[in-house]
Amino acid sequence: MWTYEKKLQYPVNIRRPDPAAAKVIITQYGGPDGELGASMRYLSQRYTMPYKEAIGVLNDIGTEELAHLEMVSTIVHQLTRNMTIEQIKESGFDTYFVDHTAGIYPVAASGVPFNAGTFQSKGDAITDLVEDMAAEQKARTTYDNILRLVDDPDVRDPIKFLREREIVHFQRFGEALRIVQDNLDSKNFYAFNPEFDRPRR
């Protein structure tokens, strides 16, 4: 189970509203490579993972992603505080505003609502960990693209922290994949699925 800590993992203090930035950054909350999907992916994959090191990585990164989606939401919230109607119209934020005002709702930058179809829980250790590594790289690319679009250092600083965490998570998932493979038949990693097939007695 979980308990809540009344703080962010890394501080977010944005002084200037920027609804145009909010409209692209919200994709890391509810978009195809966002933190909500990341958390649900890893926390869902834990149950059938047989190896304790890989369970630990899925559990603990899945938990950290919950802290990241709180950070992304905070960034979007602080970018959309005290907006004028003129700023909303000029920035293109009006298409979000009409449905959600300044409320936080999980959507992609394109406006498509969060969809669990953006991730898998395949019940196969190799398949899931390879997806997890790709997912961390896709999120890293998204943060790189956000850094190309945003100039405000108040916004860039926490985004850079989140980008760095994607790289660390990619490393840990790579190590978890290696540990899984060390437990398999080195001549044929696909001889059996350790999440489904029972070992021979």
Binding site: Y47, K52, I55, N59, D60
Partner: protein, 83 residues
């Protein structure tokens, strides 16, 4: 029931008491009787968690006591326990 399960259940009950009292206090933040009740149960919970951790291992990552092994990942994880 073995003593590990018994102690874990005591922690589960105390945590639920704190959580549920906390929900009540969210909407009644000045209720002195509820505040006293929360504090008493929190003291019992702290003691129970300390006892559990020293005998059976960590319930949270920052409660790992072993100096030479990361015991956090030791099985069983909660969903692996059979009835």
């Amino acid at each position: 029931m073995d003593s590990q399960k018994e102690l874990l259940n005591k922690i589960r009950i105390l945590e639920f008491v704190l959580h549920d009292t906390g929900l009540y206090l969210d909407t009644h933040p000045l209720d002195q009787e509820a505040l006293r009740y929360y504090r008493t149960n929190r003291e019992m919970l702290d003691a129970a968690i300390d006892e559990y951790t020293s005998y059976y291992g960590p319930l949270t990552m920052d409660a790992v006591l072993s100096k030479n092994k990361w015991t956090w990942i030791e099985k069983p994880w909660p969903w692996e326990v059979e009835a």
